[in-house]
Structure formats: structure tokens, C-alpha cells
């Protein structure tokens, strides 16, 4: 009888990294479905192409680094990054745009730092920001939602992606753009003159956000992450919106409901800022981290120069994460206070 010598514990729970990643992928399904429903197949094509490029990049980087492909590809983290980036990009983006974004995410933001677990910044958001800065035009052209224009079919979506020169799609300002570009109107007038604004926060956008909220709640239920960061972010965003909302004119920033259901708010709150690797670690730290993002999102949306603010807010908060960790160590059993950082 040959017996192992091994350190305790000998029993293990059933959680695994691959499982966590699969759950996250699964939770994007409702959001993806509604995005496709309202904006056509563009996002799906984005996601599919991003996954192909992403896996290729990951495999390339792993083989260059001399790591086992099977072992590391299995964890599914590259797929998650690619799916999230594919969702964040405007539908009907050309293939090269997506490829550049994915390569920046996987090669630059993730593998250059040492692969999964070592990236200080959210890879998907790094890719997004690289594109936003390099190709502002392509990155700010969103297709019109169903009901306000023709929604292209699958063939057109593929054409838009792979033969961008031959594709001439319609674009339309997003609700966030409209609010920023119009100053000094009454909200009612703004709503009346812009059909995209829908009921609360934009045709399609409202439902897409609710779908991502549902996916996020499911992930919370499955204990994939804790509620702290998303709730803190949504709370601080609402609070900021409520503080600066003057009740009626478009010079102020829009109502809390508008901010919660517009743009990438829910997607960001449940799928982006919950990336554990680049966020703060302790419970208090995640509260601070989420709240910081909420504030930043509002500031950038209302007074910044970019269509949406999640990406910049998340990257800035990533910068702050080690600092937040340093000051939010939990109180350890039997200690009076957390050990004071020097």
C-alpha cells in the first residue's frame, strides 16, 4: 500500500475557475438575446469573431510563454474577456476593429502581465479604451434600434463585419449622446423630439439593461461574486444622478432611472466591475471600489467627452484598487482594529 503525503485539507468544494467562467458566460445570454432582438445580429457577430480572434491570441501567447494550451485554455477566462468586449463594442463593427480590440485585451492587458490572475486592469476594458482612443468614429456609431430603423439581418451583419467597405449601415445617436449634445431644453421637449429616448432611458437600452440585471442577479444567486461592488456602484450612480438632477432641464444630467437603464450601466455593474482579478479584495474594499466607479461614471457621462463612461471609470478604479486594499483590511479575529498600514 503506497500512501500519499499531502497537506490538509483533503476534502474540496466543487467550485472551479472553469465553472465560474461558464456561469458568467451563461449569464450574458439574456442580455445578448435582447441586444440581438433590438439591434440585430451585429453584437452576435462581434462576439463570435472576438472569440475566434481571442482564442487564437491566447493560444499564441501561451505557446510563446511555453505554457500548456489545454490546461490554460480550459479555464475559459479568454472567452469571457472576448464575449464581454464583443458586447461592449458597437454592433456592425468591422473585423479589424474587433481584432485590434481583442488583441489589445488578450495580448497586452492580460498575457503581457502574466496571464490570468496577474492583470492589474480589466482586459476587456483595456481593449475597449484602446479602440475608443484610436478609432473614435467607429466606436461612437451605434445602429438604430428596432422600431426606429431597419434592423439588418444576419447576412448584412456578416457583411458589415467582414466586408466593411461594401456595407453602408445606418447609425443613430445613443440616448446618452442625445442628452449630452442638447443643452437648455426641457426634458419633455427633448423626449418629444428624440424618439430614441423611449420611455425611460432609450428604446431597446432599457430592456437590454434589465436583461443584464437579470443575468447579474442570477450570478449573485449562484454566489459567483458578492453584491458589494455592483450595489455600491449602482447606489453611488443613482445618488450622483439624484443630486445633480434638476427635475426637468437637459442641462442637468438626467434622472437616476435614466442613468441606471442607459448605456452599459447594468452590464458594467454586474459583468465588468465584478472582475475579481483587477478589483479590490475585501468586502469594504469592494464597496469603496464600486462606489468610486459609480461616481466616476456619472462624472464622465455628464461632464466628460466620451459616449459612455464605464470603461474609463473601471480602469481608473483598477488603478486605485491596491490603494483601496491597503486601507480596507478587515478586522481580523481577536484584533481590535485592522493593523494600521504604515
Amino acid at each position: 500500500m503506497s500512501l500519499m503525503r499531502i497537506s490538509s485539507p483533503h476534502a474540496h468544494g466543487t467550485f472551479s475557475t472553469g465553472m465560474v467562467m461558464r456561469q458568467v458566460l451563461l449569464a450574458t445570454v439574456p442580455g445578448l438575446f435582447l441586444l440581438t432582438l433590438f439591434f440585430g445580429f451585429g453584437t452576435l457577430v462581434n462576439v463570435a469573431w472576438a472569440c475566434i480572434v481571442g482564442l487564437a491570441c491566447e493560444a499564441l501567447a501561451l505557446s510563446l510563454r511555453g505554457r500548456s494550451l489545454a490546461f490554460y485554455l480550459k479555464d475559459g477566462s479568454a472567452l469571457v474577456t472576448c464575449v464581454l468586449l464583443g458586447i461592449a463594442l458597437p454592433p456592425y463593427s468591422p473585423w479589424w476593429l474587433i481584432a485590434v480590440g481583442v488583441a489589445s485585451s488578450i495580448l497586452m492587458a492580460k498575457q503581457l502581465y502574466g496571464g490570468l490572475g496577474y492583470n492589474p486592469f480589466n482586459p476587456a476594458m483595456v481593449g475597449y479604451v484602446v479602440l475608443l482612443i484610436s478609432f473614435p468614429l467607429q466606436m461612437s456609431s451605434w445602429a438604430p434600434p428596432r422600431g426606429l430603423g431597419d434592423v439588418p439581418g444576419l447576412w448584412e451583419a456578416l457583411q458589415a463585419c467582414f466586408l466593411p467597405a461594401q456595407y453602408d449601415g445606418l447609425t443613430m445617436a445613443t440616448p446618452l449622446d442625445i442628452l449630452r449634445q442638447n443643452q437648455g431644453l426641457l426634458m419633455e421637449d427633448l423626449w418629444a423630439q428624440s424618439p430614441q429616448l423611449g420611455r425611460w432611458a432609450g428604446v431597446g437600452w432599457e430592456w437590454v439593461n434589465l436583461a443584464f440585471l437579470a443575468g447579474g442577479l442570477w450570478l449573485l444567486y449562484r454566489r459567483i461574486f458578492t453584491w458589494h461592488a455592483p450595489v455600491a456602484m449602482l447606489a453611488s450612480l443613482s445618488l450622483m444622478a439624484a443630486l445633480f438632477y434638476d427635475g426637468g432641464s437637459s442641462s442637468s444630467g438626467g434622472s437616476p432611472v435614466f442613468h441606471l437603464l442607459s448605456g452599459a450601466t447594468m452590464f458594467g455593474a454586474f459583468f465588468i466591475i465584478t472582475d475579481p482579478v483587477s478589483s479590490a479584495v475585501s468586502v469594504r474594499g469592494r464597496l469603496v471600489f464600486g462606489a468610486l466607479i459609480g461616481v466616476l461614471v456619472y462624472l464622465i457621462r455628464v461632464w466628460g467627452n466620451y459616449p459612455d463612461a464605464i470603461a474609463f471609470a473601471v480602469l481608473i478604479a483598477n488603478f486605485a484598487a491596491p490603494f483601496i486594499d491597503h486601507y480596507t483590511q478587515p478586522r481580523v479575529y481577536g484584533h481590535k482594529q485592522p493593523k494600521s498600514p504604515e
Binding site: M1, S2, L3, M4, R5, I6, S7, S8, P9, H10, A11, H12, G13, F15, S16, T17, M19, V20, F71, D75, S77, G115, L116, G117, Y118, R223, F225, T226, P276, V277, S279, V281, S282, V283, R286, D325, Q329, P330, R331, V332, Y333, G334, H335, K339, P341
Partner: protein, 577 residues
Amino acid sequence: MRRVYDFHGGIHPAENKHQSVRSGIRSAGVPAQLILPLSQHIGAAARPVVTVGDYVLKGQVIAEAAGHVSATLHAPSSGRISGIEDRPIPHPSGLPAPCIVIDCDQQDLWTPHQGVADYRDCDASELLELISSAGIAGMGGAGFPTAVKLMGKPGRSVKTLIINGTECEPYITADDILMRERAADILEGVAILQHILQPEETLLGLEDNKPEAIAALREAAASASHVEIVTFPTKYPSGGEKQLIEILTGKQVPAGGLPGDIGIVCQNVGTAVAVRDAVIYGRPLISRITTVTGDAVATPQNFEVLLGTPMQHLLDLAGLQPERCERLVMGGPMMGFTVTNPQAPIVKTTNCILAPTTAELPPPPPAQPCIRCGLCAEACPASLLPQQLFWFAQGKEFEKLEQHNLFDCIECGACSWVCPSHIPLVQYYRASKADILQQRRDHAKSEQARERFEARQTRLAQEDEEREAKRAARKAAAEKRTQLATQEGGEDPIQAAIDRAKAKKAAQQAGTGTEPAAAASALDTLRQKLEKAEQRLAQSHASGEDAKIVAALEASAERLRGKLTEAESAASEAGAS
């Protein structure tokens, strides 16, 4: 109903307790050989008081406690000591250690023993002495000598006595079955502990997954209402001393402190029974209840087993299927350690032997990178940040580790259990703790070496100085003499000595003419010496001195005689030529 508190974190692993409680406690009998490690517990190893070949009776002391934190060892059965040698012992290292080996005669004859008539008439120190001499050590976890724990710090009163029947580790049912079958004995032991400690309240805490044990204890406690039975929701690791204290009292043991610092003493239910047996019947701690379980044994159950019984003996009784067993764990699946040799004996802290199949407890898959998901921080009962500790442990950043309170880790394994990346976190913490302690020891040692080096340097410097001073003094004296001599107009004494030496040399060189005379004088001196030595010898004979001295004197006289004869013969030869 008493209010129970919750502690941070914790997990709910599969309990797997039902397998081993289907039948009651079974006696494991007397094995052919008993192996008793001299250090069964933390603290100093015991000192054997028997030698190989001695016949010992059951309950006879075979090794004495050496030092404060040490426990006495008794023979668990009668037989002959067949060796005091290195044997495999249950220790995570797998290293052998000195053990007393008894070949049992199967008679199981007791040494005369007797308990106290009524413990209520004894004072605490008497009972503590009794507990100490019975070799009782904590039977739940670390095996800390019970008497030492009960003694506490002088002048500090005990507010709460906590009896730990939690047994939160999966698989283990030794305490459970003890509470079911011997609830009255436990309460009797608790009464003795109460008499010693005089606590304001006594709580017996156990998880709500042991309804039979709770019922048995409640029934037994109905007649003697000195103990409050407190149940609380099942959660691992609620049986950890610190966690149990928080559950029952809401207080936390200060970091680096002991429960005694907040007026609490914790004892295991098994220890309470051992105390009862020692005080009332005078029986030392020579047996315990051990669970043998796991899918690789045919009939998992609890045994009453003599300490020193090889694990193999128990595994055979339980029907081990060796081909299905890849690891043997002493203790539970969360905190137990692997034993590499089934010949290792049962010791005072062996509450469970777990023989799992590979399907039951598969070996951990290779570790993936940490994604800082924070599940470990949620599970940590000490509220640590295991993911940060892991990060620092990988980089051997000892300062950071201490700053993040590594030493508050109780190694319960909850973090490793939840880790989705299958990182052996506890091993990282164990290794880092050991490295830090080693570093501290090294540093203390190098400090000591430095002090000794510096002391030596000063000593050498001082010696040099003294020598220098002496030389200076001699020189000064010589100069003074010369001065004096020249002043008095006489000759310089040194010059005179040189002259004398020269003259002598010249005389020697002058030829052999003077030789016979010198030889004659040498002969004279030798004769005188011999005479003296003989006188001294006679004296010592007369006064009856020590035989050794007399012998030495005789030897020296003999030597002198030899020399004399040699010299005489040489002289006569010289004369002849």
C-alpha cells in the same frame, strides 16, 4: 434559550458522519504490540523510566513528564518492554521518533490503582496533581496537557467553562458516540472540572447535527443541572476553540492571547471523561475512542482503543481494503494529516483514522492561477484575506505576511476548500509560518553569535592589554635595576648572569674531566629524592591514606628506584672505561 452568536466565514462540507455511527463503541482489544511515542503531544518528550526487558503492568508509569508542558506515559496493557527505539509515529513529516515498545502478554493485568473517595473533599491542586500524573492531554486537537491548561495563570478567575462537543470536522464521530453512550460520565467529569475551576457558568456546546447526542446529554443533565447544553447551527469550523468561544459568548480571544485572558477555559468532552476516570477510579489515560471510517473500510465504526495500538490493527478490525486506499489520514479531511506508515500507533489525539478511496477524496487537481475571487476571504473564520496572504507567501514577503496577520490563521482549510483554482493555500501558510519562525530563530541565533563574538573580541583585547602592561612593567623594572646597579657601582646583575652562563659553557666545553663529578652529584640528588619518596610512602601507609594516593606514591618511588639503578650502572660503566 441562550443566545448563540455567529462567527465570520465558515463552510458546509459534506458531513459523512452517518457511516460510522451505525453501531456503538466497540473494543479494539489488546494488540500483539503497543508502541508509545515519548512525545505524544506538543511540548517536551517524556523521559522513560523503564528499561528493555522490564515487565510492566497495565497503568504503570513508563515515562515521566520532563518539563512543564509535558505529560506522563503509562503502559496501556501488561507485557514486557521489548524496545525503546525509533519507530514510525503519526506525524505529518513521516519521520520516526523514539518510542517505548511493549510486547503484550494478553493478560491485561492492572497495576494497583485507586481513585479518591470523594473529589469534593479534595482541593484543586490535589486534583490537578492527579490529572497531571494520569497523563491527560487535550483529546480534541493539539494535545496540550490538561493540567497545565486548567492551572491557567495564577490569580485569574474563570468565568465560563466551555465543554467542546462540537466535532465540526466531517467524518469524525468519536465525540458524538461518546456523548450518546456516556453522557453521564461526561457530566461527572465536567462536575470535577467545575470543582477545580469554580466557574460562574458551564456551557456544553455542540452542533445541531447530533440530535441523539443532544437528547442523551439533555436527559443526563436533567438530574444534574450544573451544565447548560447549548446547540447551534452546523458550520465548519465551529469546533475550533476560538470559534466556539465566539459562538457561545460573543467574545473573541485577543490575538496572541489565550482563552484564559477573557476568563474562559475550554475542554473537550473526551478530556472530561478522562478526568473522571482518573479522579474517581485512578485510571490513567491509556485508551480513547477513535473513529475508523472512509469508503476503503468495510465497516466504519468507533473503537475504544488502547493508546499505542498500531493503526493497522484498527484498520484490519474495520475491514480495510488496501487496494482501494491511497492515503491514510489521522484526523478529519479538513485538518488531519496523512500518515505514510499504517504501523504508526494511536496516540492521545487520534480522534479519527480516515481511509478514503480516491473517488471519495480525489487528489487535488493541479493549481490554477488565483483570480482573487474572494471566496476564501468569505470563508475564513479568522477574517483574514487568504488571497493576499497567498500572494505574499509566493513572493516570500514575510513582513507583509505578518502585517496581514498570517499568525492568526488557524489552518482550518476552509480557504483551500472553497478555492475554485484548487490552490493548496494552507500549505502555503504552513510553510510561510515555519519559514518566518525559522528566520526568527536564525536571527536570535545570529544575535547570540554576534554577542559571543564581541565578548570574545573584548576578552582578547583585554588579554592583549594585560600582557602589554606586564611587559611594560617588566621592562620598567629591568631598567630600574640597571639604574640601581650602575648607581651602586656594582656589576649589572644581568651581565653577571650572562657571565655565569658563559663560564658554565666554557667549563662544559673544557672537556669530560668534570663529568664524573657531575654524574656523582646527579646520583646524590636521585638518592635524596628516593629517600624522601620512601619516607612519604611510609608516612601515608602509617596514616592509612587513600589507596589511590598510596598507589601513586609507590609508582613514583618505583620509578625513582629504576632511574637510580640506571644512573648507577651508567656511572660504573663510565668509571670502568
